[in-house]
Symmetry: D2
């Protein structure tokens, strides 16, 4: 179940402590131009917010193993590999048999019967593969006029409406982080340029498929579309978006619906909001259990952790939403499943 | 895309103005005992809240066309048909070519190129098929000790913490409804008894699949798991659920996570909240467009509409979540995909 | 697993001894014109060969429960129901706990733990649902110039090259059938008008998907494409189809490949052959076991059986191949997944 | 569409002229022990028959990038990469814009609009990824007593019943190959130890899914199950397999059905036969077209080609059938989808 999509299918693989991490993107139309730098640039977005005090890491290397020749996709599966350079698990040595609260060692252990002290597929590191695959889907969509914009809406409970707010929010995150604790935040995602008529109800609703993809990002605890929970407090007259025409097409006069009605796009921007939980890795004492001894333990993690990973969620939200949307654009007949526009007939 | 599930697959069909509505449930293990009254009782839950002033409708008839003999499933696809008794579309006659705000005629028209003035698959009526199919998945789950509980948490912005609150909320809904407008609400869903170890990351996360199913219910604009958006305002120490043991098993000391970590169940209750938008059908003037004439129109709907459909969402949430959960219990090896416990070897 | 297809998905349900049999066709583009008589005519093809001495049965009734209004598909799932008029299982009474050789009671019993003495989903009756669904896919394909032709190639070991051969073959079948035994045959399927470029290797090869669908017909024991097993005895020079051009397009000079290379259509006719086993229902003594008593028994079936069901396989082969092909034509971008050509924008 | 399977999913990627070829196996239960040498040994089976005059190649390198630690699977996707050491496409230089008869450049070109002169995914080289993935599924099956045996039944039209026949057949292949032409053959596959009750009709029939997988092997033009085309010439009495019991279980007295009835396993050996076409690469003049100039050409390929690739098909048939069968064993409840038997609870 590491595959998402119907015509455009992204399969991801790799653990944070293994040889490498990667994705296979199957069903990408031929003829799409992709430069090495397109991917480089996107992978660099997976950096913590420097203003949050977390230093820039070294850039990620990657290799395209198949599907792209001379910078052009050929229609076959695209495999991208991103090596794990540092596979040190020594940070975890002292707590090897203790489940870390808020992490997934316990549940993975129960699911597969094999214990893995370093997070495995639940590590944030794994999501780098989404970014790599998303380069292709975003480019496909950009070819038909669709763009993405993700924003940090809230950090540690402080709305980031302007630069001053953001400074204040960062300061609060730094303070809490300095004490060994962590914070969360809220991220918004806007998708512009989606034509009316995309989506396949009742179990391929565009909003639902995107909400599913967004909720697959580690640590996302809630997803809203349009007015979200606020809609529950509005009246029908307030919430309904009226229709307008000037004789040259039909438009919605507002966008409370967030871009879909009945699971199909309306032609307005798609709009989502995501709740990101506080980083579970904290440097304070926590109640744990040593599963080998079945014995209560107090653990305190050492190492460098993101004190707030909400800033990393925006690019992931764009990537995953773009994979779902490109797939649905194919299924709804708006993107050719065979040949990207501008596809060359020449040799490779 | 009217099918949900991998091993347990539910395909729904039918429009509100057609002959009938139904579901095909494929992959249901053999040997499950289902009485006619089990289904009858569940279909009766699809009634508006009487205290909200909406009268009880006549009960839904249904027929089991296949897959169940002498009250026992035999492993083949189960088809249930629920006839549409009243297919009057006269209520809509005056507004036949005008898109109703908040409804899906516009988007369906754009998607399929065919205009349908009565809602088609976007009608609430269609979701009766989820209830019918959910009877089987809920029974499968009840056989392994799993139960469901949905609650109205909020109506028209008023929290329904007790009977007095609820009375007040209903009164507000009635008032607003009496003026021809409508209201929404918030519904919670608790699933009890799920063992630790269910779910298949990274694209088969238990929480994500359930959130996807819940967001497929018409009018749901947001879904939370555990602390949801509140989690974004907590610190890691506050949000993390510690582990406890008394030597006879391992437990979480709290349930902020809402029942999953890394997309796999923790053994605590699953907990979700859904935002339900106000009913789009209102009896007030609204801006619309006659798409045939491409001309601005003001429309006012006549007829009887639910003034708040949040009370109908709880049973649907249970049904859809149970379909996803039963499927994942099979995939994770907790329910046999072939034979329900107690399956008889006798003739049918 | 009663669903076939990716964008065009056919789900079938129903047992020969249940209320009815049917299919849900999901993903059929809107705007396809379907007359009641289109379906009637196709269902009438499911008759035994009269010259084989098996009388015409009464025509099958059917109801379209959803997805088609005023003779036009609207893009929603199409559910067709075909009632079972005679559900007599008395023919089997004497042998109720004995597995019939060549039938599937034994394997179904092992699979689901429930015993069903009348064949269940393995009955030939069930395949009537394929015919009903195939009406839509064949019409979709006929709209883009694709036609189907199935032929009886061989009956009871006698090649049916002309009318005289066929008479001889039928006579042999009648003779063997008259003695209570049964015979089989070979059926060919030709699909004309498929453009070059359809199919999605390596696990969506057009030939493989069709061969899979054809081998899903009950009693089919072998499937060939192009020269089939004969190809294994040819040399490369003999088998390869050369390319020709007269300056206005590129063609194959022969069609040994049977219409695909590398799993993608070549532009030549698709050509398949199917081996149909002799009817397992025979009126001669056979070795069986009473599974309740775990005791050896000799059984002799009574009733009227097709003495050769090869003539019924041709229409089924057309139907199933058309479902696969229409789906692949959508996936390869040759048929719109949303709107059938000629789709009306008018009301329904 | 480069993925096969439902619970056990194999996605393959890579072209013969790219960086590497590989497979991602998702859904493999945790706790399966896999040695480096297990894979090495299987990859070495992809060698031409030395007695057919084709020299042994250097062994294939490979890397396991994820999913296996300390020789044990952990339940996460397993990615295996096999580098392409020699990516010379110079052999094809002279014929760069000419479609090779019997190859797939023409159809790939039509499908994707991009021309690729060296075969891409249609190359036999690509199938090495099936062998790598099959190591895991075969080991899973061997853990429950299931074994595979593939045999060369016929080469160049000569039955290989014994060593003398085989010598004669090889001699004929060498002769024809020496003249620049090529030959084909017939391969059989026997699967032993499958319990009764595996398979999921009507579109997940065990025989059909395996036939589909086998027909996905490049160059396979026909697939039979059990008596195959011979069944079409038998009577019901001859073909039906009677049931026997000695009081301790129920058995079939023969195996004409080839191991399935109604798409579900009977408990007897599964038996298939595959027709392999002659190698399309031959060193004789053939009619081709230069698609750039749209001009008739005669081409003659240079280089070293397998003069008969039937010997390479056996291991591929085993691998693909094992992927399908292991998946179906999970779906039918005979193999745990979570934990391989013997799965260790220890750390990794």
């Amino acid at each position: 179940m590491n595959t998402i999509g119907t015509l455009l299918r992204c399969t991801t693989w790799g653990e944070s402590h293994g040889v490498s991490i990667g994705a296979v993107l199957d069903g990408c139309p031929a003829g799409l131009e992709i430069q090495h730098t397109d991917i480089e640039k996107e992978l660099e977005r997976d950096i913590p917010d420097i203003a949050l005090g977390i230093p820039r890491r070294e850039p990620n290397d990657f290799r395209i193993l198949s599907g792209v020749y001379n910078g052009i996709t050929v229609g076959t599966p695209i495999c991208i590999e991103i090596p794990n350079r540092q596979q040190r698990s020594s940070d975890y040595d002292g707590i090897k048999h203790c489940y870390r609260p808020g992490h997934a060692e316990h549940t993975y252990h129960k699911r597969y019967g094999v214990y893995n002290s370093t997070g495995g597929r639940a590590s944030g590191r794994v999501s780098i593969s989404f970014l790599a695959a998303g380069v292709f889907s975003k480019k496909l969509l950009s070819g038909v006029g669709i763009g993405f914009e993700s924003k940090l809406e809230e950090l540690a409970g402080i709305r980031c409406r302007n630069g001053k707010d953001l400074d204040e929010a960062r300061k609060k995150c730094m303070e809490i982080g300095g004490n060994g604790d962590s914070t969360g935040g809220i991220v918004s995602l806007k998708i512009m340029g989606v034509p009316a008529g995309v989506g396949t109800p009742v179990f391929g609703k565009l909003n639902s498929l995107i909400m599913y993809a967004l909720s697959s990002i580690g640590g996302v605890k809630g997803v809203e579309c349009g007015m979200g929970f606020e809609a529950a407090r509005m009246t029908g007259l307030e919430h309904n978006d009226g229709y307008l025409t000037d004789g040259s097409g039909i438009k919605l006069e507002s966008n409370n619906c967030g871009g879909t009605l009945g699971g199909i796009s309306t032609g307005t921007d798609l709009y989502f909001r995501l709740a990101v939980k506080p980083t579970p890795s904290i440097q304070l004492p926590q109640k744990s259990v040593d599963w080998m001894k079945e014995q209560q333990e107090e653990i305190k993690l050492n190492g460098r952790f993101d004190i707030n990973f909400a800033p990393r969620v925006g690019p992931l939200a764009e990537a995953l939403a773009s994979l779902v949307l490109a797939d649905q654009m194919m299924i709804s007949g708006y993107i050719s499943p065979s040949k990207a526009s501008g596809g060359s007939k020449g040799g490779i």
